[in-house]
Amino acid sequence: MVPTDAELVSRARGNEMGAFRQLVDRYKRRAYYTALGIVGNHHDAEDVMQESFLQALRSLDRLRNPGGFCAWLLRIAYNRSIDLRRRRLREVSPDGREDGVELFDTIGSESAENNPERSMRSGEIAGLVMSTMEKLPESQRVAFALKHIGQLSIKEIAAATGSTESTTKTNIYRAVQRMRKVLSPLRIQGSGVADERVS
């Protein structure tokens, strides 16, 4: 029988290493990709993930709802990622402006955006998406990144960012619209991606 989060948290509060390990194994991917969605590079995401786990595990006593460990961890990872991203931005842009600053390890480049007909390969789409993401307002960028890189649900994104589900959906909608504009020239006619069915 797989233990629930609440059971693991309760055992981890008793300093049981096996319970700590299970919590880490269960949520390492989500913590890592949540961080990656915001900080944009592997090394920073790795640091954020590790620090988030340490912070969450050492302050388990302060977690009021043990079943909400995941949301709590993701909130910690989100806050740490935002702090780190701002710190990195100050390093590369001392006036704090984000214009033109790219923190993501983009695969593609500006040239791909200017010559969209060049290629449809997924690596180039990824590069284009990443560079477009950097130009989005923070709330849209974070919501989109947590959805597509962090693979979080809308509810989880809302909880992590301290926002409502409706606002989160609006942010994702606007970000996807922006992506649509950027990617539409690349779209191959009749690729079969569009689907008329709702579900």
Binding site: D25, R29, Q50, G123, V193
Partner: protein, 282 residues
């Protein structure tokens, strides 16, 4: 909320597969009423499909995921030690006689220092030694033998790792897939040992040289895969299935039999040989 905003929210929920049946029905009805919204929905879906088809994040690899828990555990242990030091230092700080004790300690150290200084001053000073003769570089006749002995050490280390791998695999084979939780600490300890061996075998495999160790390298390679899989096991709904799958894999590859064959082929430790009395002819 206006109908447009509601439909827009429903579109996002539906595109990401997070809408329930009722929401999907409302969305379908809304899209049926407004062709421009239906078109927008198709466009958004196509865009999300394209973005999801592109690998935005990548996977940092198996070794990275395996290393997450050990790193966090080291961090927890380091924090535990720091906390103990902090508590201890807090207790010392709280001790009311601390400044007086510090003064007494410094005074004692001064007296001891003066005493030692005077005692040493009374000792005879040894005359200065003549400078050592300069060493001329000569070719070292045991080079080949040293290299051979290095390989012997590696073979010995490999045999030791194989012995530990054998017991780790045996312990894993003894786990009842449906009841791993009965001996949870032992189970996790087995995963931990597999992780350590996974790292160790990779290094040994890279160090073994020479065609005659080919079959050992092949075995190390396969052990590395299996031990990596065991170390990477995560506690989820598929855990019992995963344990069973790996147990079958271990049996199919005849890993325990092959380890014993190698142990029989190298029955004695090789690195205890002594160097020959004469240099090797070169």
């Amino acid at each position: 909320m206006s109908e447009f905003l509601e439909i827009r929210d429903l579109m996002i929920s539906a595109i990401y597969g997070e809408a329930d049946e009722e929401e999907l029905r409302r969305l379908e009805a809304g899209l049926a009423r407004d062709e421009s919204l239906a078109e927008e929905y198709r466009q958004l879906r196509a865009t999300v499909a394209e973005v999801e088809g592109a690998d935005l994040a990548g996977d940092p690899g198996k070794k990275f995921w395996l290393g997450v828990w050990p790193r966090v555990r080291r961090g927890l242990e380091a924090e535990g030690r720091a906390e103990q030091r902090r508590i201890l230092s807090g207790r010392l700080t709280a001790f009311p006689w601390r400044p007086a004790l510090q003064f007494v300690f410094v005074a004692i150290m001064l007296v001891v220092g003066i005493f030692i200084g005077r005692f040493l001053g009374e000792q005879d000073v040894e005359p200065a030694q003549p400078p050592a003769p300069s060493v001329t570089a000569v070719s070292f006749p045991y080079e080949d033998e040293i290299e051979a002995r290095e390989q012997d050490f590696i073979v010995d280390a490999t045999l030791a790792s194989l012995e530990r791998s054998e017991s780790v695999l045996q312990e894993f084979l003894d786990v009842d897939p449906g009841r791993w939780g009965d001996r949870e600490e032992a189970f996790f300890s087995n995963l931990e040992s597999s992780h350590n061996l996974f790292d160790e075998l990779a290094e040994l495999r890279g160090s073994l040289r020479g065609g005659r160790y080919g079959f050992v390298s092949t075995l190390l390679d396969e052990l590395e895969i299996i031990l990596g899989d065991i170390a990477g096991i995560e506690v989820d709904d598929d855990l019992a299935f995963e344990i069973e799958r790996l147990q079958e894999d271990i049996a199919d590859r005849r890993l325990l039999v092959r380890i014993r064959e190698i142990e029989t082929a190298f029955p004695e430790s090789r690195s205890v040989r002594t160097l020959p009395l004469r240099p090797v002819n070169r």
